[in-house]
């Protein structure tokens, strides 16, 4: 009796989260829940039936994608605070969700045959990919320093394990462990930065920080600036910008191709979402204080990435350095900090996702042996043996190099144009010059693909025949690069409305 009385008294005091907030995070929660269910399912599914886990994961991702698209239509231009500004429900986050889900869908669609051939078809692969995807999606909509940190850790922990997924292979183990040590170090630096930002502004929620930063411009605290720099270093590590890029080539090379393809694309998208939310919106009032540092990192990334990529002889390493250079181009968009630049970066992210994935997915379709057929030598003559695969890779490489009318050209075009608009002509010129260098190493790979094969007659083919379903998926991705490149106003329009949603609550200058 007394117990019932106490319960009745306590019930109104228990604050349940309102249903509305859960609904706003539905895409993220579907993938997060899918991760847990996949982990449980994995214990029941016999090894020969693991392809069904892939089918199930695809279903989870498609459901999340469907909700994301319908959310895009219903949310309109609003920006809705979820769980007291922990997350923001807006078109910007949904745009990022779309890119990440696209990368995850592609990877999981290609994985079963690849993992089977590499003899690493373990069920954890799917649950870990879903966990990383969920972390990335949360990062895309995080609007509090705490949630940014937690999401980064969720995605990183899953990726550390995935990089070391080839269990018997020393390279893969080494890749996972290096990534883990460097990632932990970067997280600690990021966290220190967040602690200082929190301490000096008194808030962990970005909108509140934005208000404090905007209201108190006269006396800029050196500790706050230190914090901002440390946060940028931490995020710069995740996008592998130049002085913090050391881990990238080794991790990309050692990790299995499926993991390389996924993390090279999706991690960069998610981390750039956080950089745009924090630097291009919240910290714009302090723009003059961090502009030089970001420009310097951008210039350095373009230089180091492009120059070192020239002398690579392994396509994974080449794409790692090319990814460093691409991060540099995208950082131009952060450094010029105009509202047009944000849309440019979003288009660039879409182009980078499709093109980088197209190259690595092409190799994934035919990869044989411990090194994933990723050295240039083992790709020689692929164009004659598997013309369809080579053609898709060539188109993606041309898009990365920035040939019009492919999507990669438009990404560069919008970012450089926004730099010129904002009077940062030197940055734009530097970008154009370094992308001229990049054409050499992209074209070199295309030449290798179509050079005559050296193998003797009768020797076993150095490649597997591509699985038909996988080839169709890669074909769709590459077709999107071409079609969206021709109809680029569509992408730009979507990027613009994502950009507008980002600026609703915190007006940019």
């Amino acid at each position: 009796m007394i117990l019932a009385h106490m319960l009745a008294a306590a019930l109104p005091a228990l604050q349940f989260p309102s249903g509305g907030d859960v609904v706003h995070l539905l895409p993220e929660l579907i993938v997060g829940g899918g991760f847990i269910i996949t982990m449980i399912l994995d214990t029941f599914v016999p090894p020969s039936k693991r392809t069904w886990l892939a089918v199930w994961s695809l279903g989870v991702l498609l459901a999340a994608a469907a909700v994301t698209v319908s959310d895009w239509i219903t949310v309109g231009a609003q920006q809705i605070s979820v769980y007291a500004d922990s997350f923001s429900y807006d078109r910007f986050g949904l745009f990022i969700n779309c890119l990440i889900l696209l990368a995850a869908l592609f990877v999981i669609a290609l994985s079963p045959s690849y993992l089977e051939r590499q003899k690493i078809h373990h069920g954890e692969f799917y649950s870990l990919i879903l966990a990383a995807t969920a972390g990335m999606m949360f990062l895309g909509s995080s609007e509090s320093l705490m949630m940014v940190f937690l999401s980064i850790e969720v995605l990183s922990l899953a990726l550390y394990l995935l990089s070391g997924f080839r269990r018997g292979n020393a390279k893969s183990q080494e890749a996972g462990f290096k990534y883990f040590l460097m990632g932990g170090f970067a997280s600690a630096i990021l966290l220190m930065g967040m602690a200082l930002v929190y301490g000096e502004t008194g808030h962990t929620q970005l909108p509140a920080i934005a208000q404090v930063v905007a209201s108190d411009l006269q006396s800029v605290d050196p500790l706050l600036l230190t914090g901002i720099v440390l946060v940028f270093v931490g995020l710069g590590f995740k996008v592998s910008a130049a002085p913090f890029h050391m881990w990238t080539p080794d991790v990309y090379e050692g990790a299995p191709l499926a993991v390389t393809a996924f993390m090279s694309v999706a991690t960069k998208v998610a981390a750039f979402a956080a950089i745009l939310r924090i630097f291009s919106v919240v910290l714009t009032p302090l723009y003059t204080h961090w502009e030089v540092a970001v420009s310097a990192i951008s210039i350095l990334s373009m230089l180091i990435g492009n120059l070192v990529a020239l002398r690579q002889t392994n396509i994974k390493r080449m794409l790692a350095y090319s990814g460093i250079a691409q991060a540099g181009y995208m950082l131009i968009g952060v450094a010029v900090s105009g509202s047009a630049a944000i849309a440019g970066v979003l288009v660039y992210l879409a182009a980078y996702t499709l093109s980088t994935f197209g190259v690595l997915a092409g190799v994934m379709l035919v990869a044989k042996g411990d090194d994933d057929s990723s050295s240039y030598r083992s790709l020689r003559g692929l164009g004659h043996a598997h013309p369809y695969v080579a053609a898709m890779m060539a188109l993606s490489l041309l898009s990365l190099a920035g040939f019009p009318p492919l999507l990669g050209f438009w990404g560069k075009f919008f970012v450089f144009a926004s730099a010129i608009q904002n009077g940062q002509i030197a940055l734009a010129i530097w970008g154009v010059l370094t992308s001229a260098i990049s054409i050499f190493y992209y074209i070199r790979v295309i030449l290798i693909l179509y050079s005559p094969q050296e193998a003797e007659k009768g020797a076993p083919s150095p490649w597997f025949a591509p699985a038909r379903a996988g080839a169709v998926v890669v074909g769709l991705g590459v077709a999107a690069t071409v079609v969206l490149g021709v109809f680029v106003p569509v992408v730009y329009h979507l990027a613009l409305s994502a950009r507008d949603a980002l600026l609703v609550r915190i007006a940019a200058p």
């Binding site: 850790e153 040590l181 932990g184 997280s187 600690a188 390493r317």
Partner: protein, 102 residues
């Protein structure tokens, strides 16, 4: 808490963070590097809690709790990887882990 106490805590946290960062950069044993990373995370905890107290806001404490949880998860992943590397290579020296080079 007086201003002096707060400044001392901030100083102590920064010092521990620096010691951790130095450890990561100069030590060669992965386990020690790993401990240094943990030291860095926990020094940030100290700073977060000190700021939370000084600002009279709970966010610092909550943040510190989250960091503790994350650090625990990192230990799980890290130790699993260390044991696997040791089984494969029978060495724990990051300078010997150089399968991949430019």
């Amino acid at each position: 808490m007086s201003t002096g106490d707060f400044q001392f805590l901030l100083f102590l946290g920064t010092l521990l963070f620096m010691i951790g960062a130095t450890g990561v950069l100069i030590r060669r044993n992965p386990l020690v590097i790993f401990m240094s990373v943990e030291l860095m995370l926990n020094s940030v905890n100290l700073i977060l809690v000190a700021y939370g107290r000084a600002l009279n806001s709970l966010a610092g404490q909550i943040f510190a709790f989250m960091v503790i949880v994350v650090a625990a998860a990192e230990v799980v992943v890290g130790l699993a990887m260390v044991t696997r590397i040791f089984r494969a290579e029978h060495t724990l020296d990051v300078d010997r882990l150089d399968e991949m080079k430019d």
